[in-house]
């Protein structure tokens, strides 16, 4: 059976989703599956990348609920024979995970963490998980109002601090006024709670990883970001190997029994490694791992297909990632098709 794989998160902008990098990794693999873009925004660049995606389909926002998403996936399956999904966006994962049995029945195979695993790494529970896997974690308080935020910043967590949304956005704030402004911005978009976190000094290091069905880490690559955008997104980076981070990753896999891709975001200083965040999906820099010989998206597909993949924990250090902007020209009809037929090719 040829794999026909739906990939979301195809917004390859200066704040990119992982989808196009996942697609590129699979396009460079030996298996050469057919790739279908799954998009929530007609302007996602991936919608127009016909060199990567056979077709691309518009889907209703996950915030509108499961019903619409399921109907959309069902329609896409009818038109393309879609038989595998690689969800790449935080906002859609809770829905996809919750309704995995329905996806299975529809013949849409996936490898995702369970609901329990997904919740264990949520930002408001990370303090507990960090203790259990034996690593440091910045002091974090969950607040449900601006008054509460101000009280925390005047007491338990002094400035400078980090103000974060439960799902998206994080800002370093140096005074109360900016903290209120940023918390209000996040709450307006994503609601409460807001997290207030101690700011840790040191170097940011990140690890991308993949665990199999038994929670065994079968692939991983660590990097240090060299240059980032104003949102902290990587622009240049270098591969590193920190044995403490490798050990932390293994403990995370064993303790949670994690299934699927993940990213560990950490800070390191003279006190050790602080676990800042765990993303339950591939990060946008996943192609860096592919470029140094660890094709995690292909390994994920192998696990879904065969129940296992060849373990690959070796990669060269000192390899350098350079992200850049580029353009291509396509026809307006692609945009029109996406608008009217909800897919680039205009299939009815």
């Amino acid at each position: 059976m040829k794999n026909i794989i739906g990939i979301s998160g195809i917004n390859a902008t200066d704040n990119p989703g992982p989808g196009c990098a996942v697609a590129r990794s699979l396009a460079e693999s030996k298996s050469k599956p057919t790739l279908i873009g799954l998009s929530y925004d007609i302007h996602d660049p991936g919608n127009y990348m016909s060199d990567l995606f056979e077709n691309s389909f518009m889907m209703p926002y996950p915030t509108k609920g499961w019903q619409g998403l399921q109907e959309s996936l069902s329609t896409i399956k009818e038109k393309t024979n879609l038989n595998m999904l690689i969800p790449c966006l935080d906002a859609e994962l809770p829905l996809m995970i919750k309704h995995k049995p329905i996806l299975d029945k529809m013949g849409l195979r996936t490898l995702m963490p369970t609901e329990k695993q997904f919740e264990l790494r949520s930002k408001d529970l990370l303090t507990q998980l960090s203790e259990e896997i034996g690593c440091l974690h910045p002091k974090t308080k969950v607040v449900y109002s601006i008054d509460e935020l101000v009280n925390v910043l005047k007491g338990e967590i002094p400035l400078p601090a980090v103000v974060k949304g439960k799902y998206y956005k994080a800002y370093i704030v140096y005074n109360i006024e900016t903290a209120i402004l940023k918390a209000t911005e996040i709450a307006a978009e994503w609601g409460f709670p807001i997290l207030v976190q101690e700011k840790i000094h040191g170097q940011e290091i990140n690890m991308i990883g993949l665990s199999n069905n038994e929670g065994e880490v079968v692939g991983r690559v660590s990097i240090k970001k060299q240059l980032t955008t104003h949102l902290g997104k990587v622009w240049t980076a270098v591969t590193i190997r920190d044995e403490r981070l490798d050990a932390l990753c293994d403990r995370f896999g064993k303790l949670t029994g994690w299934q699927g891709p993940f990213e560990l975001e950490c800070m390191t200083n003279e006190n050790g490694i602080f676990l800042i965040e765990i993303n339950p999906r591939f990060p946008a820099w996943v192609y860096f791992a592919t470029g140094v010989g660890v094709n995690l998206p292909q390994m994920l597909v192998d696990i879904i297909d065969k129940g296992e993949c060849k373990k690959n924990l070796h990669y060269p250090t000192g390899k350098y990632l350079v992200r850049y902007t580029s353009e291509f020209v396509t026809d307006l009809v692609d945009f029109q098709n996406l608008l009217t037929s909800k897919n680039r090719k205009g299939l009815l």
């Binding site: 170097q203 990097i223 240090k224 980076a237 591969t239 590193i240 190997r241 920190d242 250090t317 000192g318």
Partner: protein
Amino acid sequence: MSEINHLNLSKNGLVFDPRTGESYQLNPIAQKIIVLFQSGKTSEQAAKLIADEFHISLEQAFSDILEFQVQLSIIGLAS
């Protein structure tokens, strides 16, 4: 000084620490000291070779090596 064996010294004189991702530019004597230590030379043996190659006194070479070792420790390049 085996604890610097993990460092990667490039031809253009930059040393890369693969544990942290940090790079540092070294002068020619510092580069030579790294090469000598990574080849298993002791401080005394390295000082003799440095003194011969850079035409400085043995005392000066030994002093430079000790100072460099301290700097490596301070910036965390030598564990």
